[in-house]
């Protein structure tokens, strides 16, 4: 009788254990566990942490960045990197803002701004594929070019856009029931792109290219076309984020989005993307950006000085990259 009990107990325990190792065995699982742990700890430390208001703020803070993270993830998968996302995001904002102030319909202005950011992506893609520069240098140059253009367009001071029509402000400020509209846009983009990254044949070609570009060429993949496409995608998503921010804040600020490349690259790497290319998932990267946001928000709730925030984020990135490195080393040796 008691023997029976222990057997049963054991099996329950072992299935629990199995579930645990299964969850841990994929990157997203580990991240979810870490996020849960942070939440549990925080709910003890701060009564405000587990409130709807706080969570709404956290979600809002990472959902627009999350859109940029999607592009960055694909960029890392193909083995590239895009340092210009913050500047391109700001450029879209400033272009749309300037056009609106010149009397253009805000929707048309936004579409033109999106086209401009896509165009920047295409030009960067051209330099990478046709001229043969590396992503790092090309996007570094365009970080400067795009940021400079923002200052030129705005003459260095923020454009105030309080006259934006309510219908346009709805993108960044409206909500559907209790859910801010931004979060809905974000969820749609994330769910769709996560699905595409996992399943679509075009994304498979991106993985092949990132894994071994030469072998991809020798598998009949039009590597340059794919690289160009990814560059356009990454910049366009940054542009979209810029439009959303403009609608949310009712302003276009030339210094906005500085350091966004660091946040998005960190998020993707924490989520399992590899700087060597060939690896990464949208879900992982989004969990990465969520973790960074939750930590930032926790530090604020705990009254830690803002000066500490970048330091802590840096440490988390270092930790994530080290874990990744050891996992790879183990895989090679095992």
């Amino acid at each position: 009788m008691s023997e029976n009990m222990t057997v049963k107990n054991n099996s329950v325990l072992s299935t629990l254990g199995n579930v645990f190792t299964k969850v841990k065995s994929f990157r997203e699982g580990t991240l979810i566990l870490i996020i849960l742990a942070v939440c549990v700890i925080m709910s003890f430390l701060s009564p405000y942490f587990m409130t709807w208001g706080n969570w709404r703020a956290i979600f809002l803070s990472f959902s627009t960045e999350g859109i940029v993270v999607v592009g960055m993830t694909v960029m890392l998968i193909i083995g590239g990197i895009d340092l210009s996302v913050g500047a391109v995001m700001c450029l879209a904002m400033c272009v749309a803002g300037r056009l609106f102030l010149m009397g253009m319909n805000p929707w048309l202005a936004s579409i033109i701004a999106l086209a401009v950011s896509a165009g920047v992506g295409a030009i960067m893609g051209y330099f990478v594929t046709k001229i043969g520069l590396v992503h790092f240098i090309t996007t570094l140059a365009f970080l400067g070019i795009a940021r400079g253009s923002c200052y030129v367009l705005t003459q260095g001071s923020p454009l105030s856009l309080f006259t934006l029509p309510a219908s346009f402000k709805f993108i960044g400020q409206g909500s559907v029931g209790p859910f801010p509209f931004i979060i809905i846009i974000f969820l749609i983009i994330v769910i769709f792109s996560d699905f595409m990254v996992r399943k679509s044949s075009i994304m498979r070609k991106v993985f092949y290219t990132g894994s071994n570009e030469k072998a991809a060429l020798f598998s009949g993949i039009r590597v340059n076309k794919i690289k160009l496409g990814v560059s356009v995608l990454c910049s366009s998503l940054a542009g979209l984020a810029g439009i959303i921010y403009m609608s949310r804040f009712g302003a276009a600020t030339p210094g906005f989005g500085v350091g966004l490349e660091m946040t998005t690259i960190s998020a993707a790497v924490i989520g399992g993307a590899s700087l060597n290319g060939g690896e990464g998932t949208v879900l992982g990267s989004i969990l990465g950006v969520a973790l960074l946001s939750i930590i930032t928000s926790s530090l604020i709730l705990l009254d830690v000085s803002v000066y500490w925030q970048d330091l802590v984020k840096g440490l988390i990135l270092l930790f994530a990259v080290s874990v990744d490195h050891f996992q790879h080393a183990k895989k090679m040796k095992a």
Binding site: S201, Y208, K214, G220, G278
Partner: protein, 503 residues
């Protein structure tokens, strides 16, 4: 040969996830002998050598050097005990000069903070001289694969080692380079250095080695003195069955009367090859011979849109086609197997399945989405067809032995049911048994009406399989031979530019 044992491994066990690569292996190496190590693809040869070199750690077992038990944590430890290792896969720094690659270990441990490059180049040239003409100042990525292999060997020789391990060094070498290597091996042996030599070529083993040790499926199957055995015995011990080395029967009749699949005319790239023309017919195996560097691979790549050309036309099944990108060729069913497996061939960190389906991902997709069932089904079918030795096709290709990686590439080509297959060194690194299987497979494909072009530096293979052979010399065609003309003497004669036929 003295019987002093310089290296002894005992009871080595090595487990990888899902497989036991080595299961209690023993091996003795005597002073001043050349010991051949043979076994099928995936038998565990490279794994054992990686353990002796400290790259991998065994799960069980002991290593003794000169009778003293040692633990080798890293290749640096192994170096200190005088072990030099030429890996199966070329592992050089691609963007660094030949000389710096050769002396990497020395530069690494040197106390000096400045490098005397003139001295470095001079010493590199000295080591390279007996092996072949390689410029020590060139960057490695500018070299042909055979020259890269030479640099690998020179790198090991520079270490002044007591035990030298050569893992399939000749798979990528030309004949003259191979001969040079053998001469060096005999010199080293005379100096009392012991060599472990891994190869799938029985002829080399019987001409160069003193003893042969046999591995089968990770189990040690004994050692034989070369003088007291023959290749039949060795092969049957390592494969566990008899291998008939007979090539399948060639095309009956005149294959040029069959329907024309490919007509290549006046191919020129103004650099590596010049005015190459030939036809390929249904059911034909057309061999391409020539010394390495004769431009054979470049012609094939140009046909597939993988190498630029400045003149020439291709007709496919009677219709003029233009191929600007390899994808166009694949769509028509023309596929190319690269000779550079590691750089241009496999996606090392992707699964076997994803590697096999890479050539035509649309084939296993519906509405732009990859259909996992289709992909798995197709990949598993071809993995089984080619007998790829793996625990599961979900594992990364990097976990496969060299020969099995080669089979993955073959599976990838066949999975799209091509009409014209261009094979560049198709059996490089493949074991004796699998090799004759692949020869049969190639002939069967031809019999199904597929046209096959095969580049091979192994003359017996080329002669045994080809219905016709086009010989190239320094980028020019020396003509096409068929029937009894396909023999070693004639091909070598033509390949060295001494004779031309019909052009």
């Amino acid at each position: 040969m003295s019987s002093e044992v310089v290296l002894a491994v005992q009871g080595i066990v090595k487990d990888f996830p899902g497989t036991r690569a080595l299961d209690g292996v023993d091996l003795d190496l005597h002073k001043g002998e050349i010991l051949a190590l043979v076994g099928e693809n995936g038998a565990g040869k490279s794994t054992l050598m990686n353990i002796i070199d400290g790259v991998l750690q065994p799960n069980e077992g002991k290593i003794r050097i000169n009778g003293e038990e040692v633990v080798l944590h890293t290749p640096l430890d192994a170096q200190r005990y005088g072990i030099g290792f030429v890996h199966q896969e070329i592992a050089l720094c691609q963007h660094v000069s030949v000389a710096e690659n050769i002396f990497m270990a020395e530069l690494n441990t040197s106390k000096k903070s400045l490098v005397n490059y003139n001295d470095l180049y001079k010493r590199a040239a000295e080591i390279l001289a007996p092996l072949g003409a390689v410029d020590p100042k060139k960057r490695v990525n500018e070299l042909s694969i055979s020259n890269q292999q030479i640099v690998e060997i020179a790198k090991a020789l520079s270490l002044d080692c007591k035990i030298l391990i050569l893992d399939e060094p000749t798979a990528a070498l030309t004949e003259s380079e191979t001969d040079a290597l053998f001469k060096i091996m005999q010199d080293l042996k005379a100096k009392g250095i012991s060599i472990i030599y891994i190869s799938h070529r029985m002829a080399e083993i019987f001409s160069q080695c003193d003893r042969v040790s046999i591995l089968r499926d990770g189990v040690y199957c004994g050692s034989l003195n070369i003088a007291e055995t023959d290749s039949k015995e060795v092969v049957s011990k390592m494969v566990g069955r008899e291998i008939t080395n007979l090539y399948p029967p060639k095309f009956q009749g005149d294959c040029t009367k069959e329907e024309e699949l490919l007509r290549v005319q006046g191919f020129t790239d103004g650099f590596r090859f010049n005015d190459i023309s030939f036809t390929l017919h249904q059911g034909e195996i057309l061999g391409f011979s020539g010394l390495i560097g004769a431009g054979r691979s470049e012609v094939m790549k140009a046909i597939c849109g993988l190498h630029p050309k400045i003149g020439g036309s291709v007709a496919f099944a009677g219709e003029q086609i233009s191929i600007s990108h390899y994808e166009d060729a694949i769509q028509r069913g023309i596929v190319y197997l690269t000779e550079d497996r590691k750089v241009e061939g496999v996606f090392l960190d992707l699964s076997i399945r994803k590697n096999i389906s890479a050539l035509k991902i649309d084939q296993v997709s519906t509405n732009g989405l990859v259909d996992r069932h289709k992909e798995n089904g197709l990949s598993d079918e071809y993995a089984a067809k080619l007998n790829i030795k793996c625990a599961s096709t979900t594992h990364d290709v990097s976990s496969l032995s060299g020969g099995n990686q080669q089979k993955v590439l073959l599976a990838k080509l066949l999975s799209i049911r091509p009409k014209v297959i261009i094979l560049d060194e198709p059996t490089r690194g493949i074991d004796v048994g699998a090799k004759s299987e692949i020869h049969k497979l190639i002939r069967n494909l031809a019999n199904e009406g597929i046209g096959i072009i095969m580049i091979s530096s192994e003359l017996p293979e080329l002669i045994g399989l080809s219905d016709r052979v086009l010989v190239m010399h320094e980028g020019d065609s020396c003509g096409i031979i068929c029937g009894d003309d396909i023999n070693e003497k004639k091909i070598i004669h033509m390949a060295s530019g001494l004779e031309k036929v019909g052009v």
